[in-house]
Amino acid sequence: MGDIWVELVRGPIPVAQVREFVSGDPSLGGTVTFEGSTRAESDPQHGPLVRLDYEAYKSMARRQLEHLAHEAVDRFGAGKIAVVHRLGSVPVGEASVMIAVACGHRAEAFEACRWLIDRLKKDVPIWKKDVFEDGFVKWAEVRNVD
């Protein structure tokens, strides 16, 4: 049927707990994890990016993440799924999101993990601001890449 854990956290993503959640079932032979982190970037005018500040429509974000995880169970036959998104400030190099999917075989696990992060970036009500070294802050541009 599929075990699901979704969570919005403040502070670092509990990586060990996420791995632990999707482990332990010997029938699930393929596990894929994805971590998305704040990438070092630089603006010609404002200098290096120092962090991203995330905020969410929390009640709906949780609900949407649950819908997506359930749909991934149905679509890909995933056995266990964990999706954790961090809110608040995420400095360069630290993870803002982690997804772990355990399936019977690797192909579905890769597919499900990719599908989950793509849908999260499209449909889960979370927004981020870019914060630069000189103090300049702006809402992140919405892109359909990376």
């Binding site: 998305g36 995330y54 905020e55 969410a56 429509y57 009640s59 709906m60 974000a61 609900r63 998104h85 803002s96 999101v97 992060i117 999260l120 970036k121 499209k122 449909d123 889960v124 009500p125 979370i126 927004w127 981020k128 809402w139 992140a140 541009e141 919405v142």
Partner: protein, 82 residues
């Protein structure tokens, strides 16, 4: 009349300068009617509003859905999570 709560999230809140308002609508009003009423009351949302989705009680809605008293309607600008 019915009253619904409208939430402005993320970048939308910067344009309206408020996080939420009570919006009075006629009985039988739809999500689409609410969108028009929001556009009138908050012209600063402007054309951007057409790119923003409306969520009814924490689910993405369609403009034909009929609203009920006490509903929570959220203005959801394009998201940038992950």
């Amino acid at each position: 009349m019915i009253s619904v709560t409208v939430l402005f999230l993320g970048p939308a809140k910067d344009l309206t300068k408020v996080e939420s308002v009570a919006l009075d609508l006629r009985v039988g009003a739809t999500v689409g009617d609410a969108r028009r009423a929001i556009a009138e009351r908050f012209p600063r949302l402007g054309e951007g509003l057409s790119k923003m989705r409306l969520a009814l009680n924490q689910e993405f809605g369609v403009d034909t859905q009929v609203l009920r008293a006490g509903d929570e309607l959220a203005v959801v600008p394009p998201v940038s999570g992950g």
